[in-house]
């Protein structure tokens, strides 16, 4: 198993750092999958995580000027390692003024992802910084749990409003109750509802637009006004929103009535999918 890669461009480095920070906000420990052309940050759903799962994919060529990998074997040319996401984001954040950044898989007493940074100091001389991030290699038998989730057949698919607005609204709602109802229809309406004994608050987002539906059946059977709703834990939704520092290039919310909500975001060339199950 071998992995070495280099980022030489400042913009690419900043983008990669931002992605890493976003992942760190969404998951404490996650899996990094390395393939010849893509990198994935994966959080598989688990009881411990409350059923939330995440799938983030980046095309490696858009970030790394050099990229070499050798997977576990010829047929399985992939590497799966588990790490604490924050360790990576912190290490990358120290590379603000770096001339170059190299990442490689090493084995120093135990497997590490070593990040070597060449910092430029004021006197224009280089300073070397190294971070050894401990990782755990995931054995092949567990790979099946870490595959790309299938896009669910949603009842309603809708474009998301500005995330910052959603976040400020939901943050206030958190004080009322833990259960948030997300409902949407094919008319471009999205509502966020929260209820307690004394009060119920609904925020209406209108004219959001719906992406063209994949299947014909969806648009036929469903009246545009009919809402598909799902009740989720508000904290999980907030955690998802907290991870988004900038508004995505494109954001789609897919609601599967009473089952789950699926967020499909695209931040330039990085795609992020986030699944929150309905509360039982």
């Amino acid at each position: 198993m071998k992995f070495r890669a280099k980022i030489a461009d400042a913009a690419c480095l900043n983008h990669f750092t931002r992605v890493s920070c976003m992942v760190a906000k969404l998951a404490r420990t996650c899996t990094l999958r390395i393939r010849p052309h893509t990198l994935n940050f994966i959080l598989a759903d688990s009881a411990a995580g409350g059923g939330v799962s995440m799938w983030c994919e980046l095309p490696q060529e858009n970030f790394f000027s050099e990229f070499q990998m050798e997977g576990v074997s010829e047929e399985n040319n992939e590497i799966y390692v588990e790490l604490t996401a924050e360790n990576l984001s912190r290490a990358l954040k120290t590379a603000q003024n770096a001339r170059a950044l190299k990442v490689k898989l090493t084995n120093k007493h135990f497997p590490c992802l070593t990040v070597s940074i060449e910092l430029v100091s004021v006197s224009s001389s280089s300073r070397m910084v190294t971070h050894d991030i401990p990782v755990k290699v995931i054995p092949r038998k567990l790979w099946k749990n870490l595959q790309e989730p299938a896009v669910p057949d949603s009842d309603v698919s809708i474009y998301m409003p500005v995330l910052k607005t959603m976040k400020s609204v939901v943050e206030k709602m958190k004080n009322i109750s833990n259960q948030l109802i997300i409902e949407a229809n094919l008319n471009g309406d999205l509502n966020l509802k929260i209820e307690s004994e004394l009060v119920s608050v609904t925020t209406h987002f209108k004219d959001l637009g719906n992406p063209p539906s994949a299947s014909e059946n969806e648009s036929e059977d469903r009246s545009p006004e009919q809402m598909a709703e799902v009740q989720v834990d508000i904290r999980k939704f907030l955690q998802f929103l907290a991870g988004q520092q900038v508004n995505p290039t494109r954001g789609i919310c897919n609601v599967v009535s009473h089952k789950m909500v699926h967020f499909d975001l695209l931040h330039e060339d990085v795609s992020l999918q986030y699944f929150i199950p309905a509360m039982s």
């Binding site: 360790n87 001389s125 050894d132």
Partner: protein, 363 residues
């Protein structure tokens, strides 16, 4: 008895000093003398000491005098304040700098109170009465000029290094050779999978304003107190000088400025007792110990009187949480010959052992 005043921008520096010292301990001594106003702080396990001495010319006005007790003895202001009381007064330093026109600090001779008055814009006057505890300030004796290794560096470079280390990582190792300096995470035990990230940064000799390495060494100390020093140095824009030797001997971080002098002295982890060392240290558990700082109490009485003797003890390398048996020994002016105690603590006599020296004047 203390009476001094400063302008808005001086308050900012003063406040930064207090913030830096708050990283060392929860208590602060206000120790005025003819040399100026010293703020001192020692942490509970005696492994870190900070002192910022503001010279009289730092202030707009500065008056200090000893008070005369009932029985005729003269006493210094032995004033110990809680950080909790004084830190909130100096919060939001940027707004203080903008709004405060004058800050007066004085002590009331009748009550154990320090009064801090902030005269702000628009005629607003804020008065804080802070009670203090009567307590003789402690100071650390450390001859930093005898250290073999002296490095002077701009605080920005150190700050860049320190930011690599997460707050969960308490200890940092500084490894020096004549060719390079490396700041890295301290690796006490063998690292395992759940350990935190190991980071290291190399700094070349040319980045230092002064670079003298007499002995190759690796010293390990607490990051937290270094951060405190960095906070303060950024406010003064002065370079930091580091004086150190071999592991176990304290590390001194100092800033020498026209108007003030800051010294932070941190204990470093001592080596395993495999070296030729005292029998006492062998009795302890095998874990590395911080060697505690030699601390003494400042003296009572005027300086121009007899040569002031400081009594000091070298404290044996001990378990970090052992009780310190530091007694308040003071020489009284009219007591005649000074009392001198040399406590035999079975420790090795290190070359140039600074702590057993008599000091003629206050640090």
């Amino acid at each position: 008895m203390l009476k001094c005043g400063m302008s808005g921008s001086q308050v900012k520096v003063f406040g930064k000093a207090i913030q830096a010292l708050s990283r060392v301990s929860d208590e602060l001594w206000l120790d005025p003398s003819e040399k100026g106003l010293a703020l001192r702080s020692v942490n509970s396990c005696r492994s870190a000491y900070g002192c910022v001495l503001f010279s009289p010319v730092f202030f707009q006005h500065y008056h200090w005098s000893t008070s005369v007790e009932v029985n005729g003895t003269k006493s210094n202001l032995n004033c110990k304040l809680g950080m909790k009381s004084i830190l909130p007064i100096f919060r939001c330093l940027n707004s203080l700098e903008r709004n405060v026109e004058m800050c007066k600090i004085f002590t009331r001779s009748d009550k154990s109170k320090v009064v801090i008055q902030l005269f702000c814009r628009h005629g607003i006057k804020k008065t804080h009465n802070v009670c203090f505890q009567e307590s003789q300030p402690l100071q650390v004796l450390f001859e930093k000029n005898t250290c073999s290794n002296i490095l002077m560096i701009q605080p920005r470079v150190l700050a860049e290094a320190i930011v690599l280390f997460t707050s969960s990582q308490e200890e940092v190792t500084l490894a020096v050779t004549p060719l390079e300096v490396c700041i890295k995470s301290s690796t006490e035990e063998s690292m395992d999978l759940n350990s935190s990230v190991y980071s290291e940064m190399f700094v070349g000799p040319h980045e230092f304003e002064f670079f003298q390495i007499g002995v190759d060494t690796e010293i390990t100390f607490c990051c937290k107190e270094l951060k405190g020093m960095l906070i303060f140095s950024e406010a003064t824009h002065a370079p930091i000088t580091m004086h150190f030797d071999f592991p176990g001997k304290p590390l001194a971080l100092s800033i020498d400025h026209m108007l003030l002098e800051a010294n932070f002295i941190l204990a470093t982890l001592a080596d395993e007792p495999s070296r030729a060392s005292s029998p006492q240290s062998l009795c302890l558990s095998q874990k590395r110990k911080r060697s505690d700082l030699a601390v003494s109490n400042s003296k009572v009485g005027k300086k121009d009187n007899k040569a002031m003797e400081s009594i000091s003890r070298k404290v044996a390398p001990r378990n970090l949480y052992a009780d310190e048996i530091l007694s308040n020994i003071s020489t009284l002016e009219n007591s005649g010959s000074p009392i001198m105690k040399r406590v035999n603590s079975d420790t090795e006599e290190e070359p140039g052992s600074s702590s057993l020296r008599k000091v003629k004047e206050k640090h």
